[in-house]
Chain length 127, copies 4
């Protein structure tokens, strides 16, 4: 299984009045890793040939994240088809798992209609 590690330091502006990172921001961190991984593979997450919107997300929040925490975001390519990619993600900070979940993205053309991803992507993801 293809995996990728992305590091991120929590900015103040991602915290909320409870003193921890807001749950929506944590889901956004998964996308930071997803896009960094895709770009490293040579895949543009959005371009004139279409995009990869999320069609499903889920996340369990195990421990709060705080300002200036160094997070390791581990992304795993669970499976892919010509029309979708399934990712797993796990966030670790201070030697403890903070959150874990899944993202499913579908491939769409520039009009937002479901479409097959370029054949080249499939080999890039499968290598």
């Amino acid at each position: 299984m293809k995996t990728y590690l992305y590091h991120h330091s929590v900015p103040f502006q991602d915290t909320d009045m409870a003193g921890v990172v807001h749950y929506t921001r944590i889901l956004g961190y998964a996308e930071l890793a997803e896009h960094a991984f895709l770009l490293e593979l040579g895949i543009l997450p959005i371009s004139k040939s279409g995009g990869l919107p999320k069609v499903h997300v889920e996340c369990d929040y195990l421990r709060p994240l705080k300002f200036a925490d160094d997070i390791a975001i581990e992304l795993s390519l669970i499976k892919f088809s010509p029309r979708s990619i399934h990712w797993g993600f796990q966030l670790t900070a201070n030697d403890e798992i903070s959150a874990k979940g899944k993202l499913i993205t579908a491939h769409v053309d520039v009009n937002g209609n479901p479409s097959e991803m370029p054949t080249q992507w499939q080999s890039l993801l499968g290598e």
Copy 2:
């Protein structure tokens, strides 16, 4: 089952370069409805006696939301215990379901440790 309807108009600043509302913002809309519902019941989502952080979220994205769309967010209280609340949510815009999912919140004290919610909340939620 207790339900609540919350209306929201999509602001420009919630869209991304794909021209649609970012998936993290859609999950944030669920919280807008959750908090409005709690406040209407007389429950403060955060106070000196603690808070209600999300411990699990999941969402299926069915149709994109766009700038200025009027969204109806239907929130349903699925179940609650002294330590957690399970919500279902469904977003409708332009007469079509755009997204649906679940939120689970746990009750924590001011130090972020799991704790039972005030007894009064349980009757407010159960009425």
Copy 3:
């Protein structure tokens, strides 16, 4: 001088760990009022004929805003030319001025190049 009043209730997700609304969000509130005003005048802030990006913003923060505060955002059309619009804004909550500032937007075509706004807009703004 044309003025417009927009009401907004502060969501939890706009607060930061200092317990108050983050300064970037407050500037975003000014845009909520700007866009609501434009839409009411019949002007689309973004369309196939172009958009109105901010070219200058400034803001003085006088008093913090908190979760669930009801804010009155007063927007004033200071001046406009075929190529730009100058807005003043002032946010009031709990009977005190919380923030005030300015936005300047330029009109650009779909390629992002400076261009004159439709003649019709100038009469809509000037009426």
Copy 4:
């Protein structure tokens, strides 16, 4: 004049439907640099002894920023007193200045009241 250089890559989630980074996010980038600089100097931007909320911001937006742009954020300490710090910032991407502006932060105690910053900070800033 003390200066600091901070690098940031534009995430997809900071773009809006105009295809460029939203103006509020660009102001947030200035804070990323501000906090990184303060932490490097050994100054906590928020702690039990207080914080450094923005009391004034201003920004000129010269050229749009796009997804995956590498931004150099140059932060300059313009001046400071026991009660406030004035910063200048300039963002450069693709060899062109994209935005420049100012931040003024005031020192407040944990109750949000204006207060003098620790004497040690003044020497850390002045060194």
